[in-house]
């Protein structure tokens, strides 16, 4: 831990900031001409640009009835306008004990990703909130912030994160949807090492009309650990121990199992139209952020 502290201080240095600025510029170029930088929502009312009609339902504001169409078609149709609104970006970041592992630790990688995404979002005038989770006790989130000037607040918040406790993805997702009424983008950054699975967490986000994005952080060496012989493996979160005899065949099987685990999560996300990104620790965070932009998952 004595070595981890100074590393964390250096995590967001000037070089890092330069890369963030570059990402912010690149993100504008990537989406230029397609959509505006701001996010729009289809809502009745407040907007200027007509978007669509829908059937009138009791309780709707009769001011938005299209009387011209009623005259022609004798049908009550409501005019819909695209309304500009602030995008809420929730960076749901895993800080459980398993994120302590890896070279560099997966938490550091996740923190860089969160910082990068937060910077881009803040640059786009979105509201960014960081919601860490891990362990039995509730962790205080970073309240929604807006504007580039708040990035240092984000950095400071991330620096304070410590990896500990067990992973409860579902609980974290449920907590988020209940505490934050404003819908928005939920970037779930985790190694997804939850014995209860990842599906419940993503589903609860979807069901509450949040838009989840899954970023799977892992260390490639986790798939091929340098182990041999008779060992007792201990889960770093649960403390569960198990005697094993490691051979090359066992290692090969574990590598396949690890890949299958990643593929299962990716497959689930694909089936639910949830953007899914693999974030190995040996992949530079800025490259990953660019991948996310190119896939268009970050902005609709």
């Amino acid at each position: 831990m004595a070595e981890a502290a100074p590393r964390k201080q250096d995590l967001f240095d000037e070089q890092f900031l330069k890369k963030l600025e570059y990402l912010a510029i690149v993100s504008r170029k990537v989406f230029a001409g397609r959509v505006r930088a701001e996010r729009r929502s289809r809502k009745v009312g407040a907007g200027i640009e007509f978007a669509d009609h829908r059937d009138y339902a009791p309780g709707d504001d009769i001011r938005y009835l299209d009387w011209n169409l009623y005259g022609r078609l004798e049908k009550l149709l409501l005019r819909l306008f695209e309304e500009e609104e602030d995008l809420h970006v929730y960076l749901l970041t895993d800080a459980s004990g398993s994120m302590r592992t890896g070279h560099p630790p997966k938490l550091e990688h996740a923190m860089k990703l969160a910082a990068a995404l937060a910077y881009v979002a803040l640059s786009n005038l979105d509201r960014v909130s960081i919601v860490p989770f891990g362990g039995e006790e509730k962790r205080d989130p970073l309240p929604p912030a807006r504007g580039k000037g708040r990035i240092f607040k984000v950095f400071n918040f991330l620096r304070e994160l410590e990896a500990s406790g067990r992973t409860h993805l579902y609980d974290a997702a449920a907590e988020l949807v209940h505490r934050h009424k404003r819908r928005g983008l939920v970037v779930l950054t985790s190694d997804f090492y939850d014995p209860d699975g990842v599906e419940g967490a993503l589903n609860v986000l979807r069901h509450h009309r949040f838009e989840p994005i899954a970023i799977h952080v892992y260390d490639p060496r986790e798939a091929r650990p340098e182990l041999k012989g008779d060992l007792e493996i201990v889960d770093c979160e649960t403390g569960e121990a198990r005697p094993v005899t490691i051979s090359s065949k066992v290692l090969a099987a574990f590598a396949r199992e690890h890949e299958r685990y990643l593929a299962d999560i990716e497959s689930f996300c694909a089936s639910r139209a949830i953007p899914y990104f693999r974030a190995p620790t040996d992949l530079a965070f800025d490259e990953l952020v660019l991948q996310i932009f190119r896939r268009g998952g970050f902005l609709r």
């Binding site: 398993s98 592992t101 890896g102 190694d191 090492y193 014995p195 986790e222 650990p225 182990l227 012989g229 008779d230 060992l231 007792e232 493996i233 201990v234 889960d235 770093c236 979160e237 649960t238 569960e240 121990a241 198990r242 005697p243 094993v244 005899t245 051979s247 065949k249 066992v250 099987a253 574990f254 199992e257 690890h258 685990y261």
Partner: protein
């Protein structure tokens, strides 16, 4: 099965010492290394597919334990050096008699017979059965076992490799007697003789089955050798000498040789010899003169056996002696001494005698007189010494003695006949240790030779004038013999010795020990006896140096000064050894068959096989561990 290393109990103890801790360690639960992983669930899924059943796991652990125990058992067993006992009646005791005599130097086979004999002996050892024991016996003039009863083939072969051919003859009878003694009480007694076969016929079969391995080629075994080479000075003319030479052609065809006789490196005679098959040629060279001392006879060209192509001899050095005669007048005595041209005689009356007057003389003769203190001369001759002053105690007097016992082999009585000598009366001497009674009358010594304080002494108990001895031829010869004996110039001393025999070598005056230095520089030490001679067992041909190892003291060697080194010569001089034609070995009229040692399987190094098995097992254990067949 028997164990040559640890005993059976020792093997068990060694196994228990290793197996005990092994079992304890296996019984104790192995503490596994704890490794923290991020997500055990992934491992659980992998391991559930591969999880062996508990009985399989136990079997793996048991297999691992069994492998370790087997490894320990193999090593413990190897430490025991197990031997296959075979059936009791198959076990044989083999005495391997290897001929190391001079004839084994013959080069009729490549590189020589000795190397061939070693190779044949190795074959015999390698043909021994697992239960057979063998003993290597070196056969030369002094057969000696070079190993004990051995079952270790390597030890036997090492002993065989150390054998070299000697310069002497083989004592086959001695070797067979030794082999018989070694085989007494042992099962399957067998004697295997590896030789060129010039051993003569053995009429009395030895104990045990005798097998014979013949070494040597019938073709090319031609040899012409010097079988005798002697030289001597004439007794009364020591400036001249004569040489006897004997050369034998042992081959089956005529031989031409050049004979060269050299004296101190200079050729005395060169002769072409035409020798018929089997011819024995004797050459006699009389009346040779010169101051030379080293003689050498060489026949050329060399043949299969080089050793007997050269013979060595030494001519005793001529010695001039100063003799002082202390007498009131004795013509017989003085006249007899004048006959020896090597003697320079002075006369002194007893009244004029003083010890100082005798200084510088080699020999002092006292006639009817004996001083209170003997002078420091090399030899003292007392004739009828007065009883009171006699250096050899006078026991009694005897009237008209007649000589009944004579020491005929003594050099002082050489060429002498003393029977029928008339003597009026004589003193009877009391012998001391080392004294020799040269002539006795009914066992009463009246002529005695001995040594006192390193001085040679001859005492005649009767007055010469009152006997007819001076009238006989024996008297001057006795005086010459006495002077020669005093001077150590014993003409019976061999001019050359035969190898493989005890050598009786005259030691330097006063020396208590002498060292024999052979031509190769080898040294042997021997005590000088009371008679002034040392005994060596000579083994090498050539000139040998005799050096005094330790002077006896200041009183010794009165007229000779510091002891000087002397030389002797030695030759093979054995017609049997020079005859190198390979022959069969005949025992009691039956030709000895070749060895048939295909016993109960070849001698196997079980411990080595066990060690190999242990290494293989260890390798298998490693592989099985790597592949997780074992834990």
């Amino acid at each position: 099965m028997s164990f040559a290393g640890l005993s059976g109990l020792g093997v068990l103890a060694a196994f228990a010492a290793v197996a005990g801790p092994l079992v304890v360690l296996y019984l104790l639960k192995m503490r596994r290394r704890r490794i923290e992983v991020p997500f055990v669930k992934l491992w659980q899924h992998v391991l559930s597919e591969r999880e062996p059943t508990s009985w399989l796991q136990r079997l793996r652990r048991l297999l691992s334990l069994l492998l370790q125990l087997a490894l320990a058992a193999l090593l413990a067993f190897a430490l025991g050096d197990p031997r296959m006992a075979g059936r009791a009646h198959d076990a044989r005791s083999v005495v391997l008699v290897i001929d190391c005599s001079a004839s084994m130097q013959a080069r009729d086979v490549t590189p020589n017979r000795m190397a061939k004999a070693r190779a044949e002996a190795r074959k015999v050892v390698r043909g021994l059965g697992g239960a057979d024991a063998a003993l290597i016996l070196r056969m030369d003039a002094e057969p000696v076992p070079v190993t004990g009863w051995e079952t270790d083939g390597h030890a036997l072969e090492r002993a065989i490799e150390s054998l070299e051919a000697s310069d002497d003859a083989a004592d086959f009878d001695g070797a067979l007697a030794l082999a018989g003694d070694a085989l007494r009480g042992r099962t399957g007694p067998t004697i295997v003789v590896v030789s060129d076969g010039a051993l003569g016929e053995i009429r009395r079969p030895p104990a045990g089955d005798v097998r014979f391995v013949r070494v040597g080629a019938s073709a090319g075994a031609d040899n012409v050798g010097v079988t005798a080479f002697n030289v001597r000075r004439y007794p009364l003319n020591k400036s001249s000498y004569e040489v006897l030479l004997e050369i034998v052609n042992h081959s089956q065809k005529p031989a031409q040789r050049t004979l060269t006789l050299e004296a101190d490196g200079e050729a005395v005679d060169v002769a072409k010899l035409d020798l018929a098959p089997g011819e024995k040629l004797r050459r006699f060279y009389p009346n040779l003169s010169g101051a030379q001392s080293r003689l050498l006879a060489r026949i050329e060209p060399h043949d299969a056996l080089v050793l007997d192509d050269t013979a060595y001899a030494l001519l005793p050095p001529r010695k001039k002696q100063r003799v002082l005669v202390v007498t009131d007048g004795n013509l017989f005595l003085e006249g007899g001494l004048l006959l020896d041209e090597s003697a320079e005689v002075d006369r002194l009356t007893p009244a004029a005698y003083a010890t100082a007057r005798a200084q510088g003389y080699d020999v002092v003769v006292f006639d009817r007189f004996a001083p209170a203190e003997p002078p420091r001369a090399r030899g003292l001759l007392y004739i009828a010494p007065p009883r009171a002053q006699s250096p050899i105690a006078v026991r009694s007097e005897i009237k008209r003695p007649f000589l009944t016992e004579l020491a005929e082999g003594h050099p002082l009585l050489r060429w002498i006949t003393l029977t029928d000598v008339n003597i009026a009366e004589s003193s009877v001497f009391a012998l001391e240790r080392g004294d020799v009674a040269l002539a006795s009358s009914l066992h009463q010594p009246i002529i005695v030779a001995g040594q006192r304080g390193g001085q040679k002494m001859l005492a005649i108990g009767f007055d010469l004038r009152r006997s007819d001895l001076p009238m006989r031829v024996a008297f001057p010869v006795l005086l010459v013999d006495a002077l020669d004996w005093f001077a150590g110039d014993d003409t019976q001393l061999a001019s050359s010795y035969r190898t493989g025999r005890p050598w009786r070598v005259a030691g330097p005056p006063g020396a208590s020990q002498v060292t024999l230095i052979d031509p190769a520089g080898g040294r042997a030490l021997a005590e000088v006896g009371d008679d002034g001679f040392a005994l060596f067992f000579g083994r090498h041909v050539g000139f040998h140096r005799i050096a005094a190892a330790a002077p006896a003291g200041p009183a010794s060697g009165p007229a000779s000064g510091p002891a000087a080194d002397s030389w002797i010569a030695a030759n093979l001089a054995d017609p049997n050894e020079s005859d190198i034609t390979p022959r069969a070995l005949v025992i009691a009229g039956r030709t000895a068959p070749p060895p048939d040692l295909g016993g109960p399987g070849p001698r196997r190094r079980l411990w080595a096989l066990l060690l190999v098995a242990a290494i293989a097992l260890s390798l298998f254990e490693w592989v099985s561990y790597q592949r997780r067949w074992t834990v």
